[in-house]
Symmetry: C3
Subunit: 445 residues, 3 copies
């Protein structure tokens, strides 16, 4: 594009002044693309390391957490690139699919929804089911995203509605359909050990650190992007403190619970997603983070058991507390702050830029925009719950090789798991005979 | 937007001279802000993953290391943003606090000092004490930084004086006041296990890799920034080799000690901090790294025990070897290399840019600057030791819930720690009954 | 440079138009340097965290994997900076070595070759041997790179030939010369445990995520750089799926093998290295990734044992499957896609830019270029095998302190390894007396 511009100027101007237009244009285009190029890797880190390790907290399901997360993401981004291509060709009536770096980011975003959903069924489904779940998930995501962002023209920079609300309720609905009454049979594995909790913190921290770039990655003008980064940063910071406070408050003797630190500390980033690029102001972000830390942690303490007992929804990672509730809050905050937007705060151009009141939407005013934001939230919920129930029924078919109730949360079922002899001193291990494991097989088969 | 630009200057030719100024300006401003925006995430990684995991080496204090590091940082950056705001309003007599991305970096820098201090008291204080320590630490930091950088106009790109010297002696002074004569009671936990040493290496490597961006993050002109990155890179590289050499030299049978590799390999980055943006020249950086590797490793072998026995300073992570000594060396190197700076090496403009000999400081010459650098080092030491002793006395009050001597270095005190059954084969674990742990509680309470 | 340009313009032009040239120039230069500056850190992550943790899969060699990887890299980048300096002075007849950020990236690239080679001899050599291996490896690398890229003028953006083919066959040749017939004596340690496999996944994921920036780091014009990133991204994505498919297909009961997921999922990035910046088209990249996933995984299942039994090559990490075969494939793909390049696909300028058909190479046509690409592959193989055998013979000398056959894959030999008592409840550990370990020594010597 820098090229064709350069060429255009080339024709209609004397040679020596060309650079005046071409050079800045190249700088500009490159700058934009580099922003995106680095953005995509940051987001990449969240998808592969962040989500992957966040789910390693289970004592014997770390391979499944990291490995299947890897599989879902690698398949999902490819499928997402195709879906996007088709939907964009709807816009521009251009049959060919072009892949730019922007598409890679969007692909990561699509995948995020499915990885969130994975959290609800972690340890209870087979890799085949996960692939099916991802296939439908990406497809549903592409449609709801298209409706929310293009048709309703709602804004959702950080994807509180499009990604988190959708992904979470999609997963929870599937988990509801796949309810296992006898899951207690494998309850001895449905918990963490010391090391696995430390591994999970790797996921937490990488998600926490890069969340600002996630929320600001697609906010495409400088101001909006900085606002998004800063608002997210502040919301996340305040969430950490309230999470620690509530966790300590409700545990006996004020001890902290690692599961809260691993998850609820991220809730602020989810909730500030939609409104991130709006003028939320620092204290607005801090307040959002403050309450989400409370709600999310309380969710783990009181609401997860209720979901399990009463609503028959088994939510392995507690995504309802980390993504579902904060996502909905984010959608509502977005709708309110959009409806409350005024020229005095944004300035005429600011309002126009932030909400893109241009072209067919030139006549929109903030209050109306607020309504469309709310409508967007409903669309996300409908697609999530409807789609989730449908996919859940598909996954109920007895052909997918899912584990028995007593084998849930166990890597042994889908992975070659090496013998554990961590604590056996090498010399002893050397003396006693043991089944050669995979690496040895390679060496001496 | 690249588009509309092409279109704009295409159609209305008269207005075309506007873009000549506006467009490059936008490129320029964005470029700067993106540099900072990415800088902040790199620094983020050091603060949350780097410092957090570096302290996980203790066998039963990984939750405390990563978790409390997370808590301190999340609280600290918020408090730091406020402190900065107030201090900048001192400069510009502007009552309102504006938060830009630059502030986020500076906030990370403030926090770094407190996380360094945490290393000295790791495992021996309560989270409440840590928060108090952070509150005062950030405040002291803001004042000493203001005096050193703004009043004395000393340069300290990588914060050898402002961050490392201050943070280390602040923590050591606190540890000295909180001296525990009977700490041996929990000495069985004051050591590492195999896995915890590997976790600590995650911290080491992320600190090592991003140190060049840490030292160059606030060096704000292209040349200085590249110099800072390259000098740091070289200093760190040479430190690794000397650390390995000394570690092997002083251990029986030439074995390497993981604690040296985890820590001393970073000393070069600390020591080159102040002088990073000066014309230190590659071999200058290599020499600084070379000696710091030696001094830091020797410190672990000979000086830490001495600190413990004679000076009654218990330094859990050995920050005296990683931050205190290298920080002071860095300050001295900075003072000397500033005093030795000449027009022939920097060029007239170079000298002016590097040391900002402008405005009120227009008349300064390198020799004088060297003096002010030395003064800056003294200021850092005074604030650190004075402030540390005061805060230490505050923390001695019996109201903060700190652990008993026999419970130090133990996550059990402040965390819900899951049962460890790593090495018990799942089938056994399945047969015997165990206390349901946190995740199970959620599932069946 | 932006500076001197500014100054030049300053003299020979009326004042008001200065900025027109200087400001865009500064933007432009800075943009380029920032691209590189961030590129270098991304690549850094692969070198230190990626390669380091990828090799931690062995149950008792994690210290050696991360620690020696760290040592090799830190020494290697320094030696590489010197080698580069000398070779570039060959070009410009300029005696002085200047270090720019570009050099840091190239240094990381040189080191990558040696780290790949380390994978073949992991656990079987002493740190001294590793340093010797690195010294020669970097030297050989610098020569073969100079011949391939500057003399033959072959293109190799991602280093399929220059880095992977060379590094892998260099390591395999050394391993062949150092063949240990009685390696079975330490076979009890030549395998993984649960935690070590999870640690290895940290390496895998960081390599996987940043591979696109690795392959695009030195592709220096915007278009080529984006193509390189996108092609690599797609190749990697498809590799993951085929790896999972083959791994499940050949394991009994369709279980997945962690060693395949850890390694073969990266093969696509290796194979697409040379052709990454060419117009491979999305499906071209997907196809390359598809077949490399199959070949690499099959290699682990069938070829590694064959190498061990018949060819007497003991390849600890299976680099033959991850780097050697995919590297050669990459070289061939590069040669073919270069020979097949046409103006219709690239456009006149595109062809010229992509292959740098300028200066002495102005007359080259794609078919000829294809020939030179193939020649480049041969050069890489000759240097690797020839150099490897020579270095292997040097390392066979009985002066390097390498481990006995029964002590291979054991950190105990070169590291102070802490007692493991992970699974002993603290209270027990507290009652029984134990040998004070390193940290305790510090506390009470």
């Amino acid at each position: 594009m820098g090229n064709c511009m350069g060429i255009r100027n080339f024709c209609d101007r004397p040679k020596n002044t060309n650079v005046r237009w071409r050079l800045p244009a190249v700088c500009f285009v490159w700058q934009l693309s580099m922003i995106i190029l680095f953005g995509v890797f940051d987001v990449h880190v969240m998808i592969f390391v962040g989500f992957g390790f966040l789910m390693t907290f289970l004592k014997r399901y770390s391979f499944g957490a990291v490995g299947f997360n890897f599989l879902i993401a690698a398949f999902g981004i490819q499928w997402a690139l195709l879906m996007q291509g088709w939907f964009h060709s709807l816009d521009y009536t251009d049959g060919k699919i072009k892949i730019g770096v922007e598409n890679l980011i969007n692909a990561d975003f699509c995948v995020a929804g499915c990885l969130i959903a994975y959290g609800a069924v972690l340890g209870k489904v087979s890799p085949v089911q996960l692939l099916v779940m991802t296939l439908f998930g990406i497809t549903l995501f592409a449609v709801e995203e298209y409706i929310i962002l293009n048709v309703l023209h709602a804004k959702d920079a950080g994807g509180s509605m499009v990604i988190h609300t959708f992904g979470a309720y999609y997963g929870l609905s599937i988990s509801w359909v796949l309810y296992r009454p006898n899951l207690d049979k494998s309850k001895h594995l449905n918990g963490s050990v010391y090391q696995s909790d430390v591994f999970a913190m790797i996921g937490t921290l990488f998600l926490w650190m890069f969340w600002p770039s996630f929320n600001s990655a697609i906010a495409d003008h400088g101001d909006g992007q900085h606002r998004a980064a800063i608002n997210t940063y502040l919301a996340l910071a305040s969430t950490v403190l309230t999470t620690v406070a509530i966790s300590s408050l409700f545990e006996k003797t004020g001890k902290l619970d690692m599961v809260h630190i691993q998850n609820s500390t991220l809730a602020g980033g989810v909730a500030v997603g939609t409104a991130a690029e709006f003028m939320l102001s620092p204290y607005g972000s801090l307040i959002v983070g403050f309450f989400c830390g409370i709600i999310s942690t309380m969710g783990y303490i009181h609401f997860s058991p209720f979901l399990e007992e009463k609503l028959k929804i088994q939510d392995t990672c507690g995504i309802h507390n980390l993504h579902a509730m904060p996502g909905v809050i984010g959608g509502i905050v977005g709708a309110i702050s959009a409806a409350a937007a005024t020229n005095t705060v944004y300035g005429d151009l600011g309002l126009e830029n932030t909400f893109d009141f241009t072209g067919p939407f030139a006549k929109r005013v903030p209050t109306i925009q607020g309504g469309y934001q709310a409508a967007g939230l409903c669309v996300a919920l409908c697609f999530a719950i409807g789609g989730g129930i449908f996919v859940g029924l598909v996954l109920k078919l007895p052909i997918w090789g899912d584990p028995a109730d007593e084998n849930c949360f166990d890597d042994e079922i889908y992975w070659e798991v090496p013998e554990d002899e961590e604590s056996v001193p090498p010399i002893v291990a050397y003396n006693n005979h043991m089944i050669p494991n995979k690496h040895q097989k390679e060496m001496n088969m």
